[in-house]
Amino acid sequence: MESGPRDPGRAAAGVKRFNFNTAIAIGFVVLAVLLFLAIPTQIETPLVIFGQSLNALDPKLFPSIVAVGFLILGGVYVFISLSMTDENGLAKLDREAVVNVSVSVAAFVAYAWLMEPIGFIPSSALLIGGLSVFYGLRNIALMLAISLGVPTLMYFVFTRGLKVFLPEIPEL
């Protein structure tokens, strides 16, 4: 009962080969094994009073079902993956895409790291300014106006209007 995209040429030829799906499928089988190993140590045991557990349901039951599910589906996936023909979109990325995505993710991590130490407005201004220039904006005046104006407006709308907390600029 499979319905995925298929390459008619390969499907007709019945070619079976190791591909990225097979590697991921093996990863899920390994995950199942790791889960079986982690369940006894990573799940608290409920209290037992007079031989009766205080929990109606063993907290290990559902994780065990999921682990069994991963093992069975992972095995099926390994077998099916050999004739799967969907494309690996990551392998098809060109150099420009890899650079753009990597720089963007690095900027996201830096933004997450900087937001509390330097405050919401400066960290957001740095992110907007940096990324918009990187993405191709060449109008510096517009970039400065937006990167400073929007975070400041957002800060006041969120903290004054919605009464929620956003990191302040630390006092020197």
């Binding site: 319905s3 799940i43 608290e44 191709g136 956003l166």
Partner: protein, 502 residues
């Protein structure tokens, strides 16, 4: 009782702030939908945190406004520059750009608007009529039935998603596993925390939703910088306005597509894209001049737009009656309900039926606002198509981060956001649908809790209790493989229509 709830809901919905926020949601949705590469789901994920700080009767209709506006907004770039703003508007590109080339862009945008409003309004009325009886049945079910309904819905979502079934099921299991991190829902005992303090309360829903639905879209949009700018001036005044005769000529098609969209909306996991293609294919085969489709036919635009908007209302039926989200949009709406302290499902209908009806009535009123806002702001939204994404993408990132942070004020949430963003991007590139993961994550704890209650009720004889005391649960369990097979076959057929249509 339902009539009373409906009348109370009608009274509750008549609020100026609800109208104002629905209008704001519609404008924001249309704005985002009009930007090629920005999706409705992304807009909803980013704007979701705003709804947390508004009353339920203001915040949830606001998100519904974003949803409705976004689906229509996607047709604007599809018609003007042949770039669908959302997946739902792909079928609109068959005739929309050809109409623009014939200097009939205003007519195309207007028929898209009127068809969208008609499809949406009609399906919302059907939703309100259907939801009451379904809720009455839902209110009679107990934990055993709820547990089996959860199992059925999880499998349905995995089965009806795009791509290989095994991938959908694996993603669902991954969502269930993630939902187990933290504390078990019955005894609050710690699970898979690896002694990391931050994991004791589990993975928060909000950064997971925003990370999986918003950040991957941003990363995909920025893969190629050249694609971030649309050059040239767009003239939407050429060709004059749509005449009543032209609208009347499309009316039969609009009605047919509305029926198709409403029917598809009731099947979890199928969605607007398939509905639009089915509506288009049905209009083409029913037409006396099918050869004109694809060359700039108003009926082509009307068919796709009425069908995709008619999906909006019915998708809320399983969410509001059983607490089961049928797709990624309703998963986001479920997040909004949960954050407001409301749990959609039989209990919500029982305790706050008037609120549910008020939200549904606000949804109806949103269509009236939708018509006026859409009609008068068409020229403005047509300009949005050309806005440079170099500025908008970083702004969206800031919104996503601020939204993730404000709920718990915990910097850990920002790292969770980035982690799920990168995971979602990789999943997309490797042809995995993240919707089953989100469903597993949301429904996992409810399923476990319902199952725990069932075990308690069974007093040690679970099998005998289910078999002899809960016939509905047995019936649903027995029907599960057949229902899944039928839905799988139907969604496979729909995808074939989708491929055949272009």
């Amino acid at each position: 009782m339902l009539i009373d709830s409906f009348l109370q809901g009608l009274e509750m919905a008549m609020r100026l702030d609800t109208f104002a926020m629905v209008a704001a949601g519609l404008v924001m949705g249309m704005f985002v939908g009009a930007l090629p590469g920005f999706t409705t789901v992304m807009a909803m994920a980013v704007l979701l945190p705003l709804s947390f700080f508004l009353e339920p009767l203001v915040g949830i209709p606001f998100l519904i406004g974003v949803y409705k506006g976004g689906i229509y907004g996607g047709s604007i770039p599809a018609i003007l520059v042949s770039m669908p703003g959302t997946g739902a508007a792909v079928a609109t590109t068959f005739d929309g750009p050809a109409l623009t080339r014939k200097k009939k862009s205003r007519k195309a945008l207007e028929i898209a608007l009127f068809s969208s409003v008609f499809g949406d309004l009609s399906s919302d009325i059907v939703t309100i009529l259907c939801i009451g009886p379904i809720a009455l049945i839902a209110m009679r079910i107990g934990p055993p039935e709820l547990a089996v309904v959860m199992i059925l819905s999880l499998i349905i979502i995995a089965v009806t998603g795009g791509g290989y079934l095994v991938k959908g099921l694996i993603m669902m299991l991954l969502g269930l596993l993630l939902s187990m991190i933290g504390q078990d829902p019955i005894g609050a005992l710690s699970r898979f925390t690896f002694d990391i303090f931050e994991l004791r309360s589990g993975i928060p829903l909000l950064p997971l939703l925003i990370g999986l639905f918003a950040l991957p879209e941003i990363l995909i949009a920025i893969e190629n910088k050249a694609a971030t700018a649309i050059k040239g001036r767009i003239d939407v005044k050429a060709g004059g306005r749509l005449t009543f005769e032209e609208f009347r000529g499309c009316f039969r098609t609009i009605c047919r597509s509305t029926v198709i969209g409403t029917g598809i909306g009731m099947i979890p996991g199928v969605g607007q894209v398939v509905a639009a293609f089915m509506g288009y294919a049905a209009a083409k085969s029913a037409s006396k001049t099918p050869e004109k489709f694809g060359t700039g036919e108003l009926e082509g635009v009307a068919a796709a737009e009425a069908a995709n908007n008619a999906v909006n209302g019915p998708t809320l039926v399983p969410l509001l009656t059983l607490g089961i989200p049928g797709d990624n949009v309703t998963a986001i709406l479920l997040g909004a309900f949960v954050a407001q302290g409301l749990r959609p499902g039989p209990q919500l209908f029982n305790e706050q039926g008037s609120l549910v009806f008020a939200i549904l009535i606000a949804m109806l009123l949103a269509n009236v606002l939708f018509l006026f806002i859409g009609y008068f702001l068409i020229p403005l939204f047509a300009r949005v198509v050309t806005i440079r994404k170099a500025l908008l993408l970083p702004l969206t990132v800031v919104f996503a981060f601020a939204g993730s942070y404000i709920f718990r004020s915990d910097p850990m949430d920002l790292y969770i956001l980035v982690t799920f963003g990168v995971f979602g991007y990789i999943a997309k590139k490797l042809s995995y649908d993240v919707t089953p993961l989100v469903m597993g994550f949301i429904l996992g704890p409810i399923l476990e809790y319902s199952f725990g209650q069932t075990v308690t009720m069974s007093q040690g004889d679970l099998f005998g209790y289910i078999l002899f005391n809960r016939p509905i649960a047995v019936a649903i369990l027995v029907a599960t493989p057949f229902v899944c097979y039928l839905l799988w076959r139907r969604s496979k057929r729909m995808r074939q229509v989708f491929v055949a249509a272009g």
